[in-house]
C-alpha cells in the first residue's frame, strides 16, 4: 500500500454502502426481539398517548418487551383483548382501530373506521370487536379476525337524522352491546348476534350520560349523568322495567364543582355487594348496595375522582383524581368505607391497572414519563420503567371479563 495518502473506497461505493449501513443499524434498533415460545396471560400494553405507540409489557418480570408504533392519535385510547390474549385491539381517538399481535409485536390489521372515536368492546364469543364513535355518532362492529366491517349502527335521534356521540359501550351476554347517547339522553342495547340484522332497544336515561359500566355478572348497566344528580341503571335481566334512577340527588341541589376531567366508570368497582362510583363535580366516592341500589355511604376523598377501581379481591378500592389534583391516589378500605392511605405516585396519574390477582397495581405517571408499580400490600413502589406520556394500561386478564 502506498504511504502518501489513505485510500478510501471510491465515493460511489460509499454512496451505496453508507445508506445500507445506516438502514441496517436503524433496523437493529427497532426490530422486535424474536419471541421465544411463551403464554400471554401476563402480558399487557401501555399506551404512549402522544407518540401513537404502545409498549408491550409483561407483569411477571415487570418489563417492557417491545414497542409498536404507528397507531395514530392515542389520546383517550382504549384496548380490548382477543379471548386467547394474543391480540390487542387498540381504539384510537382518530378512529383508527389496530390489531396488535403481542407475541410478534406487529400490527396485523388496521382500519380507519370513524372520524372521532372513544373506545370499544369485544363480543362475548370473541368474534366481533365493536367501536364506539363520536363522529359519525354510532357503533360499528368488525370481524375480530379480519377487521372486516360487519355492522354499522348509527346513533340517530330526533326527527332530523342527527347522530349522538356514543359513550359507555359494554359487551353483554348474547353478543349484545349496551351504550349511552350523550346528546340524546338515552341508553341503547343492540343485539349483534346476527350482525346483518342488528336489533336495537332504546331506553330514556336522563340528561347527558357521559360514561357507563356493566356489573361483572353482566346484569346491571349503569350510566353516569353529567346533566343531573344521579345515575341511570338498567336491569338487563328485566329490561322491560326500564331505566331506574339511582343515587338521585346525591349532590342535594348544591352547585357542582367545575369538572376538569370526566370520571370514568368503565373500570368498575363492585366489591363486597357494593358498587363504588365517582361523584361527578364532588370530592366524593358514592357507595351503593347492589341488592337494593340504595346509597349506603359517601366517602370524602381528596378531589374529584376519575377512576374508582376495586382491587380484584374487592378488599380495597383505589381512586385517582382529576386535574389539577391528579398527582394523588387514595385507597379506600371496603370494610370500613374509609380512606386508609393517600399516595403520591407521580405527576399526572392517568390510569391504574391491577395485576390479575391484585398483588400489585401499575400506575401511569404521564408528566413523569414513567409507569410505576406499587405493591398493594405495602403500598410502596417496587418497580417502574420509562414510558413516554403514558396513559392507559391494559393487561390481558381483561380478555376473560365482561365489560372489559
Amino acid at each position: 500500500m502506498s504511504d502518501q495518502k489513505v485510500r478510501l473506497a471510491p465515493p460511489l461505493v460509499w454512496g451505496i454502502l453508507l445508506p445500507v449501513i445506516i438502514l441496517l443499524l436503524s433496523a437493529c434498533a427497532t426490530q422486535p426481539p424474536v419471541a421465544a415460545l411463551r403464554g400471554t396471560g401476563d402480558l399487557g400494553v401501555v399506551i404512549e398517548r402522544a407518540d401513537g405507540r404502545v409498549q408491550i409489557v409483561e407483569t411477571s418480570g415487570r418489563s417492557v418487551l417491545a414497542k409498536v408504533e404507528g397507531l395514530g392519535d392515542l389520546s383517550h385510547a382504549s384496548v380490548v383483548f382477543s379471548r386467547d390474549g394474543r391480540y390487542a385491539f387498540v381504539f384510537g381517538r382518530d378512529g383508527g382501530l389496530s390489531k396488535v399481535d403481542l407475541l410478534t409485536a406487529t400490527i396485523v390489521g388496521r382500519v380507519m373506521q370513524a372520524g372521532n372515536a372513544i373506545g370499544g368492546a369485544i363480543s362475548q364469543d370473541g368474534r366481533m370487536v365493536v367501536a364506539q364513535n363520536y363522529a359519525p355518532g354510532g357503533i360499528k362492529a368488525f370481524d375480530a379476525d379480519t377487521l372486516e366491517l360487519l355492522a354499522d349502527v348509527a346513533a340517530e335521534y330526533g326527527t332530523e337524522g342527527k347522530r349522538s356521540k356514543v359513550v359507555g359501550l359494554a359487551d353483554l351476554p348474547g353478543n349484545r352491546f349496551a351504550y349511552a347517547l350523550f346528546d340524546a339522553d338515552e341508553i341503547r342495547v343492540t343485539d349483534l348476534s346476527d350482525p346483518k340484522h342488528p336489533v336495537t332497544q332504546r331506553f330514556p336515561a336522563g340528561r347527558q350520560p357521559y360514561d357507563a359500566l356493566v356489573t361483572p355478572d353482566g346484569r346491571h348497566y349503569i350510566a353516569g349523568l353529567f346533566g343531573e344528580d344521579g345515575l341511570a341503571m338498567l336491569d338487563l335481566w328485566q329490561p322491560e322495567q326500564g331505566v331506574r334512577k339511582i343515587l338521585a340527588g346525591y349532590g342535594k341541589g348544591a352547585e357542582p364543582l367545575p369538572v376538569f376531567k370526566m370520571p370514568h366508570l368503565r373500570g368498575w368497582a363492585v366489591a363486597g355487594g357494593r358498587a363504588y362510583l365517582p361523584a361527578i363535580g364532588r370530592h366524593e366516592v358514592l357507595v351503593v348496595d347492589t341488592r337494593t341500589w340504595q346509597e349506603v355511604a359517601r366517602i370524602p376523598v381528596k378531589s374529584q375522582p376519575v377512576f374508582v377501581m376495586a382491587r380484584p379481591d374487592g378488599r380495597e378500592v383505589w381512586v385517582n383524581f382529576a386535574f389539577p389534583e391528579n398527582g394523588w391516589v387514595q385507597v379506600i378500605d371496603t370494610l370500613t368505607q374509609k380512606v386508609v392511605d393517600t399516595l403520591q405516585p407521580g405527576r399526572a396519574i392517568l390510569h391504574m391497572e391491577f395485576a390479575p390477582k391484585g398483588e400489585m397495581v401499575w400506575l401511569s405517571a404521564r408528566d413523569d414519563n414513567r409507569v410505576v408499580v406499587y405493591d398493594t400490600a405495602t403500598r410502596k413502589p417496587v418497580a417502574g420503567f420509562d414510558s413516554a406520556s403514558p396513559s392507559g394500561i391494559f393487561f390481558t386478564s381483561r380478555a376473560a371479563r365482561t365489560g372489559f
Binding site: 392519535d73 372521532n116 363520536y134 367545575p258
Partner: protein, 134 residues
C-alpha cells in the same frame, strides 16, 4: 499527516452508527420543537401549552380535532369571535361539560391561549420542568 486505513474505516462506521442512532431517536423528539412566541414567560408558556394539549385534550383531543368537546383547530375557530372564546375559557359554558378555568389561567393567559389556538396551537414541549403542577 497520514491516517491509518483501519482508523479511517472505523471513523466512517462510527459516523454511520451515530447517524442511525439519531435517525431512530428522531421519532421521539421531532414532535417537541416548535416556536413558542411567549407573552407568558417561557416556563409558563410551556405549562400552558402542556395544559391545553393534555388536559383540555382529554375532551378536545390531543390534536385538538375534537372529542366530547368541539374541535379547537384554526379552521373550526375561524368564524368565532376571540372575546367569546376567551370568555368560554375563563367562565366555562353552563349546561355543557366545559368548565371555567378561572383560577387556573388568568384572563391574559386565556387571551394568549385563544390567539395560539386560532393560529394553530404549538406542540407540547412537556410538563413544567421543576416543582410540579400538582
Amino acid at each position: 499527516m497520514k491516517v491509518p486505513p483501519l482508523l479511517a474505516h472505523v471513523l466512517v462506521l462510527v459516523v454511520a452508527a451515530t447517524a442511525a442512532a439519531f435517525a431512530s431517536a428522531a421519532d421521539l423528539t421531532n414532535s417537541s420543537n416548535k416556536d413558542s412566541t411567549a407573552v407568558p414567560d417561557g416556563q409558563r408558556a410551556r405549562e400552558l401549552v402542556h395544559l391545553v394539549r393534555q388536559d383540555c385534550g382529554s375532551c378536545h383531543g390531543l390534536t385538538l380535532a375534537g372529542g366530547l368537546g368541539p374541535a379547537l383547530t384554526p379552521d373550526a375557530l375561524a368564524d368565532k369571535p376571540a372575546e367569546g372564546l376567551v370568555a368560554t375559557v375563563v367562565g366555562g359554558r353552563p349546561g355543557t361539560p366545559m368548565p371555567p378555568f378561572r383560577g387556573i389561567v388568568s384572563e391574559r393567559e386565556a387571551e394568549w391561549i385563544v390567539e395560539q389556538l386560532m393560529r394553530g396551537f404549538p406542540a407540547d414541549g412537556g410538563p413544567a420542568l421543576a416543582g410540579g403542577a400538582n
